[in-house]
């Protein structure tokens, strides 16, 4: 486990509902989240030391789309600010790292994405290697299908297991006002649905979603000043695997195993796990790589199968976990974010309550 120079806590968080279609600009989607967290900490916007956002130009369909988003975070007078072309969870990573230097106190983190204007499947196929994979349209859903098939072939899961993940996620989402989809589904009915991408059915895949999320994190003394009930970030780590599916064991996630060790996942109880399960089979891989047993509540929010605003969805996992811990639903847990096809890159964040 990595030793940290500074204790850092989440002192405010906010998210939009997962919208099937948000009929306004991306900054308009982010701004209420930013305003909310600023209000929660009771600070002037310009007293925040550092701001960092995560988003993706390709989702917006325009180079430099992220530049518009500074309208939402506020940049006059000038601000100390940065941006990652990644999910907001990686903005959180950089913000957390920045606080470790000990010379600043507060960071505003955000993540946002609008998938509804385009075909995310078409867009995300451009994530793959441009010389070999992209020209044949090896999009993420196709690779998720490979991954699901590999699990079945290895005897590690069945289609029924996938359907059970879906049914449980949708049932959990009934309690989540931010979820896009929710309800009681029967596993048998799910299995009777036609394939979308064999062996995946429609609800094994995420809905198209728009959404944003924001939080303020702070060093210990400042965190106590700003918040009665801070949620502590005990570790954050991320790892990547080969881009080439044929070089990976698609039924396992060594990057998650490494990250889990680095953040000391099992140095304490894991009451809750909020996982970026974009396709239902991923939950089976992640549970195994994280070494979770029946003591851990997995995706009590419903997870991305019930609302998946890419570029906000990973940061939203951290927020869902922070909210659950702040509410006393658990004392310690892990949030997971993912990037790339078939769980290629994974981030883990350990949160712990204030007691």
């Amino acid at each position: 486990m990595v030793s940290l120079a500074e204790d850092v806590a989440i002192v405010a968080f906010s998210q939009t509902p997962s919208h099937a279609q948000f009929n306004d600009s991306e900054p308009a989607m982010i701004m209420p989240c930013v305003n909310s967290v600023i209000e929660q900490v009771g600070m002037d916007r310009h007293d925040i030391d550092f701001t960092i956002a995560g988003s993706c130009d390709y989702l917006s369909g325009m180079p430099f789309a992220f530049v518009m988003n500074i309208d939402a975070v506020g940049a006059w007078p000038p601000v100390y600010e940065s941006h990652v072309e990644m999910d907001g969870a990686w903005a959180l990573f950089e913000g957390f790292v920045r606080l470790q230097s000990g010379d600043i106190d507060t960071v505003l983190v955000s993540g946002s994405g609008k998938c509804s204007p385009g075909s995310y499947r078409e867009g995300f196929s451009l994530q793959t290697d441009p010389y070999v994979h992209a020209p044949i349209g090896l999009d993420p859903r196709t690779q998720a299908g490979f991954q699901a098939q590999a699990l079945i072939a290895a005897g590690k899961a069945t289609e029924r297991d996938f359907a059970e993940v879906v049914a449980r996620s949708h049932a959990s989402a009934k309690n989540n006002p931010y979820a896009q989809l929710s309800g009681d589904l029967s596993v048998d009915e799910l299995l009777a649905e036609p394939y979308l991408q064999q062996p995946l059915r429609r609800l094994d895949c995420p809905p198209t979603s728009d959404g944003a999320a924001a939080m303020v994190i702070a060093r210990a003394d400042k965190a106590r000043e700003l918040c009665d009930n801070p949620v502590w970030i005990r570790g954050i780590d991320h790892r990547i695997e080969s881009h080439h599916p044929t070089l990976r064991d698609l039924t396992d996630s060594p990057s998650v195993r490494t990250a889990a060790e680095r953040v000391g996942l099992h140095d304490g109880p894991v009451d809750i796990a909020e996982l970026t399960v974009t396709y239902s089979p991923e939950e089976i891989i992640l549970r195994d790589a994280l070494g979770l047993n029946g003591d851990t509540a997995v995706n009590p929010s419903g997870g991305p199968l019930t609302g998946s605003p890419f570029m906000a969805v990973g940061l939203t996992r951290v927020i869902e976990l922070a909210r659950a811990i702040a509410n006393g639903d658990g004392g310690r847990g892990v949030a997971h974010a993912s990037s790339g096809p078939a769980l290629q890159q994974n981030l883990l964040c350990i949160l712990e309550g204030d007691s």
Binding site: L4, P78, V79, Y80, V97, R98, L126, H243
Partner: protein, 385 residues
């Protein structure tokens, strides 16, 4: 805790040229990375984390390219993340990598930035993905005209910068443009692109990659390589458009340099800094940044250029390597400024070395001159000003 000291220990660059069709994107970044590792006396095994930067993904049509480049970068099993802050990204990426070392969480960090403009249409992308856009020069030309009106600078200043940087580039084997017969007359007679900018006052479109190995004080000691200590860094952002905005000397640029100087106690940058690599994609931005970053008084920057102060051998050399005017792989251009500043204080700048340089700055800007990233490097860990 205080930030952990961080030094540049290895530098790698590709040859910059119009079209690197001898390599894939993977091959391009790997070329720079292997050179940086060799220069640092390190291998991929020594690297704890990687930070990658480039300008918009649409320039090459690859979305979130760290995913497909991670194999070539030796990143498998490691943290890698991607910074994107428009044209300032190369310097922002360098600073993000410094943050990783300063945090104490990572001892040795590899950072890389690139662009392969030949695989896309940069002017389309720089126009926000619209056809028939004005491009970067079209955005900046009115502000340059405003600078000229405000400062009463004579028109030959831009031509002088264009010639000076291309003459410097002749001493740099990696530079894209090698124009041995460049002259004031040639610049003046070259086609007008965006008044007052002539063709030869504008940066080229380049393919290329740049990389650095950064390490903390223990790693620096062990490596035995000359360190360039990153003693200060700063970033500032402002809105691109609003009534009353000063587009000639944007406030974010002023505050960025003030923060950079304040951190180490610089009170007279012109005297206390030995040389600078400033992001000058169009000739007139040399005097504009000399003023915009308080190296010269307002209205006085062009006089430094006119007097030859910014030439190699002058009292405050600027863009000794040839600058963005000689090589512009966009996403890498800011990192090149940072690593060339490091080359100066390490004494590894070869033919374009400023003798005895101890303190240097690397700088980049982006968007509508609204993103700023700067770092200051020193041959000593704790220089006294």
């Amino acid at each position: 805790m205080a930030p952990r000291p961080c030094a540049v220990l290895g530098i790698g660059q590709t040859k910059y040229k119009r079209r690197r069709d001898d390599v894939t994107l993977d091959g391009l970044v790997r070329e720079a990375v292997l050179r940086a590792l060799e220069d640092a006396g390190a291998t991929f095994d020594d690297i704890d984390a990687i930070v990658i930067g480039k300008a918009p993904d649409a320039l090459e049509g690859v979305m979130m390219p760290l995913l497909s480049l991670c194999d070539a970068l030796g990143a498998i099993g490691k943290p890698i993340h991607r910074v994107h802050t428009a044209g300032s990204v190369g310097a922002s990426t360098s600073i993000s990598a410094v943050n990783l070392v300063e945090s104490g969480m990572y001892d040795t960090v590899l950072t890389v930035a690139y662009e392969k403009q030949s695989e896309g249409n940069a002017t389309w992308a720089l126009s926000g993905g619209k056809s028939g856009g004005q491009g970067a020069g079209g955005t900046f030309a009115p502000w340059i005209r405003n600078y000229i009106a405000r400062s009463k600078a004579p028109e030959h200043i831009g031509w002088m910068v264009a010639v000076k940087d291309r003459l410097n580039a002749l001493k740099n084997e990696y530079a894209h443009l090698h124009l041995p017969d460049i002259s004031i007359e040639k610049v003046r007679e070259s086609p007008m692109l965006w008044d007052p900018l002539h063709f030869l006052e504008s940066c080229p479109s380049s393919d290329g990659a740049a990389a650095m190995v950064l390490g903390n004080d223990d790693i620096a000691k062990k490596s035995g390589r000359p360190p360039a200590w990153v003693i200060s860094h700063a970033k500032r952002t402002e809105f691109g458009q609003f009534p009353g905005r000063d587009t000639v000397r944007p406030q974010a640029g002023v505050e960025c340099s003030e923060a950079l100087y304040r951190k180490v106690g610089i009170t007279n940058p012109r005297e206390q800094i030995d040389c600078a690599e400033l992001y000058v994609p169009f000739s007139w931005y040399e005097p504009m940044w000399l003023e915009g970053h308080s190296i010269a008084e307002e209205g006085e920057g062009w006089k430094m250029t006119d007097a030859g102060d910014t030439e190699l051998g002058g009292s405050f050399p600027v863009n000794m390597s040839g600058g963005v005017l000689s090589s512009n792989p966009i996403g890498a251009s800011g990192m090149i400024r940072c690593l060339e500043a490091a080359n100066q204080v390490r004494g590894t700048a070869g033919e374009y070395q400023v003798p005895g340089a101890k303190i240097s700055i690397g700088h980049a800007y982006g968007g509508a001159a609204q993103y700023y990233a700067m770092w200051m490097v020193s041959s000593e860990l704790n220089p006294v000003f």
